[in-house]
Amino acid sequence: MKKKFKISRFFVYLFLIVAGFFSVFPFYWMFVMATRPSAAYNSIPPTLTPGEQLVENFQKVLEKTPFFGAMFNTLIVCLVVTLVVLLISSLAGFAFAKFKFPGKNIFFVSILLTMIIPPQLGLIPQYYLVAKFGLLDTLFGAMIIFFLNPLGIFLMRQYISQSVPDELVEAAKLDGCSNFRIFRSVVLPIILPAFATLGIIVFTATWGEFLWQFTVLRDPDMYTIQVALSSMNTTSNVDFGMILSGVFWATIPLVIVFLMFNKLFISSITEGSIK
């Protein structure tokens, strides 16, 4: 009996190692290709060890696309979207958690209902609107549709009603605090952990966003990193070493941040989808 148990454990570890290998191998392979000339791709047997072209390939990326500009644009888009969503969500969450007002439930349910509308339904009119206001090829145009985040309001309402005691709000009120002052000085310090959760969800999602930015950004100087990366793949004579070099350098910052905060990342994703 005991021996049989050990064998099953062996298979469990084997399964995990295989799964882990498949998860990590593309990252390693991306690194290998980013250090090799494009010709290495055609070699048989395949090249599986890093070469010396790490810098050369990246220089080719820089010639082809404004890589750092695109990274900077993405960072701006992600930071602004995250801050705006945090602000809108926490204020609305505070209102739904701690205030009584007519129509509260209807408003809350209608926020949840907006989640059902697929983003593609509005794509054409949104594009038209953004074009009409002269926001094509601007970062504001690239970020505006992501300010809407019903999930954020839902999470914040949940968190505020659980972790901010009514008594605290009442006491602050008796001390003569205005509602906004209560939000800033009482609620905000308590909900910082929820900010981390929602912030990670919004930031990662915005970082990976493609369809909208692909639609509204045509000027290479305004590209976000995803649009810049995809643009490398559209010429007929593609340089694989260059493409994977671009992908590698665009991915590695996120991987490092993830490895440093992986527990926080993972708990954010579960909290964000299960609550």
Binding site: F27, F101, G122
Partner: protein, 307 residues
């Protein structure tokens, strides 16, 4: 809150504050959510190239789209790739989560982080990396591996099943960690003494999985199935980036959203594009309804077995 009753003016102030605090969402929603959605419904009945005059054409746009074989091909592709990309995730995700939840497991956090790692890469990055892995060349790594096993080279980007399989594998690879983490959270909510009681009763691992894990995990499975269905119907980035220049000129992996995008932004036919968007909305609503119906049915059955 009771104290507001004492001060009537306080109560009014609270109401004003509350409306003020929820208003940003509704104002932004009105401009970039509701108005575009209604405008889409309106556009679906117009002929419009985005610049000139609109003209009312009744149901003609829907007729054009529904009579277009490419639309049906796109819908077929979307469903096939949706099923191939997401259904295996449920099975493998549950197995992975079950294993990661074993108390004796060492390096648990390391394995968990490894499996989750693909999720933090962007879909564009995934499509580009897999685009090199699954290229048409004989020397593509994927083809090299096939050749080792004596199979023929596949034209991954231009063949009917090659493109679909490559894209499904990408979707699977990127999302499996996400689903696993959700299932893992579900498993951790199942009390441990249930397993202990089952073990004492002589249930083996498979029976524990069948009679404890799966039924109690059902709400989490329902959640991921819902997300996967809606996500799969909106597939766009992976095939577009994977196919590169050929994305909108070939149909092996064209999805409904790509069809919509092509109509609107390459062919300047905003009317049929909007009609496609409305059809997509309809498909998503129907698919979600079927999902809810099927999963609630399973849930009832599951309860029956348990009691």
């Amino acid at each position: 809150m009771a104290f507001t009753r004492k001060y009537r003016s306080e109560e009014t102030k609270d109401k004003i504050s509350a409306y003020l605090y929820i208003s940003p969402f509704f104002i932004i929603f009105a401009i970039i959510g509701l108005y575009p959605a209604i405008f889409s419904l309106f556009l679906a009945f117009q002929k419009w190239n985005g610049l000139g005059e609109m003209s009312f054409v009744g149901l003609n746009n829907f007729k054009v789209v529904l009579q277009d074989p490419i639309f049906w091909k796109a819908l077929y592709n979307t469903i096939v790739m949706g099923i191939m990309g997401t259904a295996p995730q449920i099975i493998v995700g549950i197995i992975l989560a079950f294993i990661l939840n074993q108390a004796y497991l060492k390096f648990k956090n390391t394995f968990r982080a490894m499996v989750f790692l693909p999720y933090i890469t962007s879909m564009v990055a995934v499509a580009l990396v897999f685009g090199v892995f699954f290229s048409n060349n004989d020397t593509a790594l994927a083809n090299y591996i096939l050749n080792i096993f004596g199979m023929d080279t596949v034209a991954w980007k231009t063949s009917e099943w090659g493109a679909k399989i490559a894209i499904s594998i990408m979707v699977f690879w990127r999302w499996i960690g996400y689903n696993t983490i959700i299932y893992l959270a579900g498993l951790q909510s199942i009390p441990k003494d249930l397993y202990e009681a089952a073990r004492i009763d002589g249930a083996n691992t498979f029976q524990q999985l069948r009679y404890i894990t799966i039924p109690l995990l059902k709400p989490f499975i329902v959640l991921t199935v819902f997300f996967s269905t809606v996500g799969a119907l909106q597939l766009f980035t992976e095939p577009t980036v994977f196919l590169g220049t050929q994305a909108f000129s070939r149909t092996e992996a064209m999805t409904v959203v790509m069809y919509l995008y092509r109509d609107a932004f390459s062919l300047q036919s905003f009317g049929t594009g909007s009609a496609t968007a409305v059809i997509l909305l309809f498909i998503i609503v129907v698919a979600s309804a079927i999902n809810t119906y099927l999963t609630s049915g399973i849930r009832k059955k599951g309860k029956g077995i348990k009691s």
